[in-house]
Symmetry: C2
Subunit: 220 residues, 2 copies
């Protein structure tokens, strides 16, 4: 959605054409959200420096001054857009990790860990997720706090949640005793590392290999 900037012309909602428009049906917040979505899409496509605000306005189906009436400047636009997207990715990842809550204390954690690996990698392979990582690290020099914020909202959050689950499993005697934070890091590294080496590898086999190696190292 929201990739054609014609969208707001073609919208079924009549009487929403051409110029002008006071407090329209779509509230102020929805419009702001549309702008942020458009911003994220264009930034992801072109990168920060190559993106001009006019293009964002077009993508959101909105005029340039409208953009500036919602966000103060290009920089805020970037920050907000990336952080919102990062939150979304983080939430999805967390939901996946939470699957591990249902692991029975007396059962083999192999299958659930493999499933989680697969699902996590699918989330990480999403175009959105890739874009978030890309955008955060691309401007890390210019906006260091943004990079930190994105890390906190995604990777660190996931690592922490995963460490919690692993700790419980280890306590149940289904993993060897270990530092759960380090174990979580290793799990995620095995999972996402290959993304750098072979961005186009089949996620499912990569995930299976990662889970296998993890269990060989951390299993009992």
């Amino acid at each position: 959605m929201c990739s054609l900037w014609f969208s707001h012309y073609t919208e079924p909602m009549g009487s929403e054409v051409s110029t002008g428009g006071g407090r329209t049906a779509r509230g102020r917040i929805e419009r702001r959200q549309a702008i942020l979505d458009g911003a994220f899409a264009v930034f992801a496509r072109r990168g920060y420096a190559q993106t001009c605000v006019k293009e964002i306005a077009q993508e959101a189906g909105v005029a340039k001054p409208t953009v500036y009436s919602h966000l103060n400047d290009k920089e805020s636009l970037y920050r907000e857009a990336v952080e919102v997207a990062a939150d979304r990715i983080g939430a999805r990842s967390l939901a996946v990790v939470e699957q591990l809550r249902e692991v029975a204390a007396d059962s083999d954690p192999c299958a659930p860990l493999t499933d989680v690996a697969r699902d996590l990698l699918r989330v990480f392979s999403t175009p959105d997720a890739r874009a978030v990582r890309q955008l955060a690290c691309a401007e890390a020099a210019q906006f260091p706090e943004l990079a930190a914020s994105v890390r906190a909202r995604t990777t660190l959050r996931v690592r922490s949640a995963l460490a919690d689950r692993l700790a419980r499993i280890a306590l149940a005697g289904r993993l060897r005793p270990c530092d759960p934070e380090v174990a979580a890091e290793h799990f995620l590294s095995l999972l996402t590392g290959p993304l750098e080496y072979r961005p186009d590898a089949a996620p499912d086999t990569v995930a299976a290999q990662a889970a296998d190696v993890f269990l060989r190292a951390y299993g009992t």
Copy 2:
């Protein structure tokens, strides 16, 4: 080296001041190199878009037209500078991996693998190495081939060399049979993954943990 831009002022060679200068003692190529070094330093500090060519010229102790007489434009400047630096990092990493050639076929590979892990991580933690990774991925959207080229010169090269060594060790029966490419990927992932999570962690302990987990998973 090459991080202080004072270097060419502090050079012993006198009579190298102020304006003018024909075919000076330092040949054309050395000057070109100085420019590339300066470019890398400034790009690493400010990022591509925030860097103006004038600043690079100053850093290299050279006038702006001189810069353009050696490299055609800002883009070439970036490509060249980053690729040269990437080659340097790649070479250093390869040298480390080559240590594994001396592993006796009948000895425990634990110690040498741990050493290699430590030394590799030290190379990867270098400011230069961090900068190369940063610069390559930062402009990946604008210069995709540069990102690919850097990956080929660093990560892929190292993975390939490491896979060769691991294959020999496995063949000698000191590692379980496995796909050496995948094993190398896992080794490197365990090593560099934690860099993302805790950029300031002690490299030596991270390396030790990585080697330990790797051997638990791949040892016999």
